[in-house]
Symmetry: C2
Subunit: 576 residues, 2 copies
């Protein structure tokens, strides 16, 4: 019985749907079907919009919304995470593709496929090395600062599209910008603003109104989430009906090939691009993974489910590989798409399988319908999705709670805006790790004395304790390593200056679980220096494994006449 | 009185000689004079040899032995550290100068001066930012692995010189190597081997013999340390007398301009080189600083002196700046030169002032004497100095004591040999920091219970304690940060699976001195998840500053009905 239970656990960890398939019911299917349809309705305009944001043909966003979420559905541990093209990754792709070295090699589609394959490979490598935990070292303030900065960049990239402006090539010629701004397309801007208004109405006022009018919650969700698709269909219809593209020069999505790209491994051949894109793929993988886990955890917490970081790395890694071979851009778990899926009532990943299936049908049969979508309408959709990610209020909040975290958040945000996306997140991570290293290199050390009439030894700063002028009792509250041994050495030297009568130092090792090579060598030197100053070093309460390790070296011999005492009390009896 | 004492301390910290000048005596001067002469005798051949090792003209090593040690003498905190050209920095300079990008810009002398200025600037910047402590993150095993690897590279670079071989340009043509090896110069090789034998005799057998013969220790040192100078003078004399350069093609040092380079700031102009060389300067500064501090500490320990890391950064930084303006290569504290100085009886930096002064005289009046030194003899001097730095025995030693440290040492050594000097040390540092981050992200957490009939709460694993099925008492033994909060969360989740009847979790915060933003946000999410599972979270024994910080947020409100208990005992009385 225990054995079959173990088997089930093992199966669930490799194939998470095993966990929900056995109790899957008619009612669950109904819920998932509804959520799947709603999510698919959002995914069409979002997929096209994010592909254009990344500077790629629209179909690459649609392809990325089919096979990758299917793979995640059968391998991922979150039941509601929706995987596909996301805005932050899209702007990181745009940044990578627009570097002179990469764009000089041409064929942006190929470069994007390489990015998908490489970021997938990076995730799988992280899974193999079990490095999922290392992404914990991107702190929340750094991540929020990064997201805000990237979102601001996205907003500025979309404003010209919203106004129907063509690309500016003015450089530092400011007069040129004046002329450029006057070239905005009235028809384009009108459509952009109308879409924006429609989306805002669908966002909050309409659902609130319908609820008041007594509609069922599911219906309200369905209508509200149809906003994006409805508005782009309206906009596309307007463009077609009034011939806005031909007569008024409104920029539209343009040709979308129907059907699939077909599986292809052509992108494998360009070794030079693989090398150039690797650092970008690394950051895309890192951010995609961190954001996906964060979103997955939020929804999992609501339902008491459990996210397994390493399995997530495998699922997301293979999803990105699938994006590469099926002609899609890199993917991650997206915030808005997951929330739509969750609030539409998705119970399991069946919802995403249904959504992806619907999308496949749309790509096969209806893709030409989307060719006249004006770019201004897509810009409106991106703006509505992205503006909530700019969280300047959060900076104030963080600053008030923890000054250091606030500074890290501001620096990361400014670096993203001023220097670049990858550089910003890199700087944020390095700053956080440096400040963490500095903190961990200062362990807690207590000068202790005996609580009178007991065998308890406590911090002299907090307790009324008995002390001896010729004895220095130090309790080191951490393992001794290369990172903190210099601090410990300096602490002892400073303490000796304050207490010049000391003849014996007793290091109390209750909390020391390990002494590494560097620490041992510094302790050896310290012991030599103390001996020439006629001060004897002793140890007490050392744990078994620490003593075993020390016995392999000459340290304990060099300590003599210093001793290793079993209890601090024994040391006091002999030396006190 | 206290005030004048403070003044003296302040003066000594900025101008360390103030510490020894006031008690400077006739006897101290005698000692320093003797040590200064001995050290100067070593510095001439070593300076020339290390300049050639770096691929630079011989005088750059001599210039680096004059002004830089003088500056260190008045600013450094070690009384015996000898600053000048060193072998490890020399091979790093050679590596930097031979990269295609740098060598393509020509003028190796200018590049070397830029390296001196830049590594000096890096050290001063580190001093300003008080980052001296960060170099503690180069662990001893990584440093030893790096030194061994660099020393092996130096040995292989010197073997052809010892055999009198010209530069090979065979690439992958192995037949060519066969022919190349047959071109060795018999006269050159003979001189190389003779110098090597002489140095080895002067190294140990001769001093041992003289001591037995009843010579005074000081005389033995003087004779023994004169070995290098004596052997190169002999070799130079042989070359001149037998016309070995003209008749037998023995490679010699060649023209050394007499006098000084004159102060110059010409090297400031090449911005492209400054940019290209910066990463190399960074590593040279790092290694130069770490090695100098390590050597300074060894000799300081012997005499109970104190090294101030930040003042060392200033002294070494300005010494490198001085090298740049006076035409010298980058400098650091050297092991063999410091040991010679120390064992020759140097008491203060006056010894190095004397040595540098003597060197200045030699450069002005006698530099032409050294032009016929055969390169084979210098190769022998480098080999004898460098072979002790290859410490393969240390790897076995480290491996036996600490497996992880042993692996780091081997990887660093292999990376230096296989990939490159900078890449090797970089990889070593990154590996050490990653493993440190992993360890610090797993704080100690104890499940505790009450020791019967007391108010003491202890680890259930180590003590016979009273526990409650519906209560989970956790003592977190570290500040809660972005680095460890995920581990803590997972620990709690795992514990709940083991103890499913839990209704209240009490986090005991005795050792928690801070909760950062990330940790707070994860605790908020955890609390929300626990509440939906009908488990209440409480805190106890939180320190004042932690509570003050939490009160600025809504966390304590969200905790309700969870409470903050002053003592764990209070929590048990209410919930137990």
């Amino acid at each position: 019985m225990a054995n079959s239970h173990d088997h089930a656990l093992w199966l669930t960890s490799l194939f998470p749907p095993a966990g929900w398939l056995k109790t899957y019911s008619r009612q669950t299917l109904n819920d998932d079907l509804f959520a799947g349809v709603i999510t698919a309705i959002l995914l069409v305009p979002q997929g096209i919009a994010y592909a254009l944001l990344a500077g790629l043909p629209p179909q690459m966003g649609l392809y990325a919304s089919i096979l990758p979420p299917m793979l995640y559905a059968v391998l991922g541990t979150s039941r509601t995470l929706s995987v596909g093209p996301v805005s932050i990754a899209a702007i990181m792709i745009a940044a990578a593709l627009s570097t002179p070295a990469v764009s000089g090699l041409g064929n942006a589609v190929q470069s994007a496929l390489i990015l998908s394959a490489e970021s997938g490979a990076v995730m799988l490598l992280m899974a193999v090395l079990r490095m999922g935990g290392l992404v914990n070292f991107i702190s929340h303030p750094v991540l929020t600062g990064f997201t805000s900065g990237a979102a601001i960049l996205i907003i500025f990239s979309q404003l010209p599209h919203l106004a129907g402006l063509k690309k500016a090539a003015c450089g530092m010629n400011f007069e040129c910008y004046g002329e450029y701004l006057q070239t905005f397309n009235t028809a384009g801007l009108s459509i952009g603003l109308m879409t924006l208004s429609l989306l805002m109405v669908f966002g909050k006022p309409l659902p609130a109104f319908l609820k008041k009018a007594g509609w069922q919650s599911a219906s309200v969700t369905a209508v509200s989430k149809a906003g994006p698709l409805l508005s782009v269909i309206l906009a596309a219809f307007a463009v077609r009906y009034f011939k806005l593209a031909e007569l008024h020069g409104v920029a539209v999505v343009g040709h979308i090939p129907s059907g699939f790209a077909g599986f292809s491994l052509d992108f494998f051949t360009n070794a030079e691009k693989w090398r150039l894109l690797l650092p970008y793929a690394l950051f895309i993988a890192l951010i995609a993974y961190v954001e996906s886990i964060a979103i997955a955890k939020v929804t999992a917490h609501f339902r008491g489910e459990k996210i397994a970081p390493n399995q997530e790395l495998i699922a997301l890694g293979l999803a990105n590989m699938a994006a590469a071979v099926s002609g899609g851009m890199p993917v991650a778990g997206g915030f808005s798409r997951t929330m739509v899926n969750f609030y539409a009532g998705a119970r399991t990943q069946m919802a995403m399988l249904i959504a992806a299936g619907l999308l496949a049908l749309i790509v096969i049969f209806f893709s030409s319908w989307f060719e006249t979508i004006p770019k201004a309408a897509l810009a409106a959709i991106i703006l509505v999705a992205i503006i909530p990610l700019v969280r300047l209020d959060n900076i104030v909040h963080t600053w008030r709670y923890d000054r250091g975290d606030g500074i890290a958040e501001i620096i990361t945000l400014l670096a993203v805006l001023a220097v670049g996306i990858e550089e910003g997140i890199m700087l944020g991570i390095v700053l956080t790790i440096l400040s963490h290293l500095r903190k961990t290199s200062q362990p807690h050390i207590a000068v202790v004395g005996r609580i009178p009439d007991t065998e308890h030894y406590r911090n002299i700063k907090r307790h009324a304790v008995q002390t001896w002028n010729h004895l220095l009792l130090l309790r080191i509250d951490e393992s001794i390593t290369f990172a903190n041994i210099n601090y410990i050495e300096e602490f002892i030297e400073a303490q000796l200056l304050r207490q010049p009568a000391v003849k014996h130092i007793i290091l109390i090792f209750t909390s020391v679980s390990d002494i590494d090579t560097t620490a041992l060598e510094v302790l050896e030197e310290l012991n030599r220096a103390l001996q020439s100053a006629r001060i004897t070093l002793h140890l007490s309460e050392a744990k078994g494994p620490v003593l075993d390790k020390l016995k392999k070296t000459d340290f304990l011999n060099h300590l003599a006449p210093g001793k290793v005492f079993f209890r601090t009390e024994d040391a006091i009896r002999e030396l006190g």
